[in-house]
């Protein structure tokens, strides 16, 4: 059993080894799309792909942290929406950004406290998502608002063809990967996710780790809200809805076990790229965009099925 060989499964080498198939698949898909579709390999298309990946990477990184802990966060979409609304309805730029990030942090912390109080994470974050979405709709009932020009300039800034939002998202992912594998907090996270009761009996600060993990997911969802503004230039309480499924799909395609404690945050990068390229191809080929929903659902089920089968084989 892998469980015996690699109790935490989080070393750099093992997490790279575990994800190589996924990296290969992501690279092959991207190369295939670039060869088959001339429109895909234009700089404009690449910039748009990277800009659309930025919010997904941020949300999925936060989701990955929570899933590593054995939880789940279904409120990320609502938090993202609230962040865009707060930025679009506040005049002063520093206040707007601070308010959005603080709201994300607060929503995440509330989720963490609820889970610690014993509410099932699924229901806690689902209900909290309803509350957060309600607050966002109260502040801005229809998409719109006025995003300060300075914010738009900052988030849409590009270095050549690479949007700064994408670079920031990859940077955050790398940072979180480092934190979950190398820092003491990450070790605690994996231990608490792998066997929560054992970790608690060992005297590890499971409560503090849980609170931090959910807060991080909330904060990253709020950051993703800023990256969404770079594409929509407006506030929309419902703009985060697709990110709930997308982030969970990315995390599971990345091979992070829903039961907690196993998987690598780094693998979220190829998983998100794979999903982003599929979306981009659908857009570029002029296929009915509603097929995106169908395809994403199928990818999620297929990924879960494959990993489930692989885990069954591992057992003696």
């Amino acid at each position: 059993m892998t469980v015996m060989r690699l109790p935490l499964g989080a070393s750099t080498r093992s997490s790279l080894r575990a994800g190589w198939g996924l990296w290969a698949l992501a690279v092959l898909t991207t190369a295939g799309a670039a060869i088959a579709l001339p429109a895909f390999r234009t700089p404009t298309s690449m910039t748009s792909l990277m800009a659309s990946l930025a919010p997904l990477l941020l949300v999925a990184t936060g989701q990955a942290v929570v899933v590593l802990l054995g939880g789940i966060d279904l409120s990320v979409g609502a938090v993202l929406g609230l962040a865009t609304v707060l930025v679009a309805t506040t005049e002063s730029v520093p206040v707007a950004v601070a308010l959005a990030l603080l709201a994300g942090l607060a929503a995440g912390a509330a989720n963490g406290l609820g889970v610690l109080a014993g509410v099932n994470p699924l229901i806690m974050t689902f209900a909290a998502g309803g509350i957060v979405q309600g607050i966002a709709l109260l502040r801005l009932s229809a998409p719109g608002g006025a995003v300060p020009g300075a914010v738009i300039d900052a988030v849409t800034w590009q270095a050549g063809t690479v949007p700064v939002a994408f670079m920031a998202a990859v940077g955050v992912l790398a940072l979180v990967w480092f934190a979950t594998t190398q820092a003491r907090w990450g070790r605690l996270l994996q231990a608490a996710g792998f066997a929560s009761d054992n970790a608690r009996r060992l005297g590890l600060p499971v409560g503090r780790v849980t609170l931090l993990a959910y807060s991080a997911a909330g904060l990253l969802a709020a950051f993703a809200g800023l990256a969404v503004i770079a594409r929509t230039y407006s506030g929309d309480a419902l703009s985060g809805t697709p990110f709930v499924l997308d982030s969970v799909t990315a995390v599971l395609v990345a091979g992070i076990a829903l039961t907690g404690g196993r998987g690598s945050v780094l693998a979220v990068l190829p998983a998100a790229v794979l999903l982003g390229v599929v979306d981009q191809v659908i857009r570029l080929t002029g296929t009915n965009t509603n097929y995106q929903f169908v395809l994403k659902g199928l990818i999620l089920i297929a990924a879960m099925w494959l990993y489930q089968a692989a885990r069954r084989r591992e057992r003696p």
Binding site: G130, Q133, N288, M304
Partner: protein
């Protein structure tokens, strides 16, 4: 493990039921005192009839929760049902039967897909139903291209609008109570119902005693799909037109109703009796908020808050569940 099934034989008052019915009574008093004609039975029966869709879909959600599952696809199934009903019926009263059959069959197929993926592929119910719900939503959009076609026959709208001749009872309320009766009778009074509780309370023990556990799970998901499509039929009759988004809010609301009614997410605890009280709470509270002229967004906030508080209360009521959670 005191929650393990057999609620019908317990003569001690279930604290979960006591709390949820007390809450429903409080909400009823709130409704009666804050609105005009508050306690008028005619009005209250009308209100409940209008929300029959919620009552029915919450029953399906309860069945799935009882076997440690979860159905996040009900909202998409409801929307799909209104679209399919309108398209098949196309405003022709002769085609009502065909439309109803097609809609319910489609709900059963979606439920079957959920059930098979959960029971045989071993994927977490949350993910299966989230994915299947998204696929169903996408299929609805692709099928309609964003523009639902067809129409609801005038006669069919009577299901939501008319009352049974000579009584103040709406037909829709009768439909809800009828479905509730079938579910409750099966769960509380038949061998299949007993086994069903056993599967939820302890799947391994149930399997070792010869209960076909996977089959029970699959049936729960099929029932949930069918009940969601019936809820869609009621909504189609109520609004008189198909809608791509009408079902969305019902996913959270159906889970909220079950949780308020004391249904345990860990399986095997609670039942349709509790869920009925949960629906009453949501309907009364929603009406109070509506008449106070608060925006729909506040309703979302209140619902979420009530669910979180009731989860904490349920935990406190039940030490056995606390240790398992």
């Amino acid at each position: 493990m005191t929650t393990a099934g057999l609620p019908a034989r317990r003569h001690r008052l279930d604290p979960h039921l006591a709390v949820s019915y007390a809450l429903a009574a409080v909400c009823l008093v709130l409704l009666g005192t804050t609105t005009s004609r508050g306690f008028d039975p005619d009005r209250i029966l009308g209100l409940l009839g209008n929300q029959a869709a919620l009552g029915i879909v919450a029953l399906g959600q309860t069945l799935v929760l009882l076997v440690r599952g979860l159905d996040l696809s009900v909202g998409s199934v409801i929307s799909l049902s209104t679209v399919v009903t309108a398209a098949v019926m196309d405003g022709n009263p002769d085609r009502i039967a065909v439309a109803v059959a097609a809609t319910v069959a489609l709900g059963a197929v979606v439920g079957l897909a959920n059930g098979l993926l959960v029971a045989y592929a071993g994927i977490a119910p949350l993910l299966v139903t989230l994915a299947v719900g998204t696929i169903v939503q996408g299929a609805t959009y692709v099928y309609t291209n964003g523009q639902p076609r067809g129409g609801i026959a005038g006669g069919f709208r009577g299901l939501a609008d008319d009352r049974i001749a000579g009584t103040p009872l709406p037909w829709s309320l009768l439909l809800w109570l009828g479905v509730w009766g079938i579910v409750a009778l099966t769960l509380y009074r038949t061998v299949a119902g007993r086994r069903y509780y056993a599967v939820g309370a302890n799947p391994r023990a149930a399997w070792l005693s010869g209960v076909p556990t996977t089959r029970h799970s699959v049936v729960a998901y099929i029932a949930s799909g069918v009940l969601a499509s019936v809820a869609g039929l009621h909504l189609a009759a109520y609004t008189g037109s198909p809608s791509l988004t009408v079902g969305t809010s019902y996913t959270l609301m159906s889970i909220a109703a079950a949780v308020i009614g004391g249904v345990a997410l860990t399986g095997g605890g609670g039942g349709p009796t509790g869920t009925f009280a949960g629906v009453l709470v949501l309907v009364f509270l929603g009406t109070v908020l509506e008449t106070m002229d608060v925006p729909a967004a506040v309703q979302l906030i209140v619902q979420g808050g009530v669910v979180i508080v009731m989860m904490l209360v349920n935990r406190r009521l039940d030490p056995a569940r606390r240790s398992r959670a």
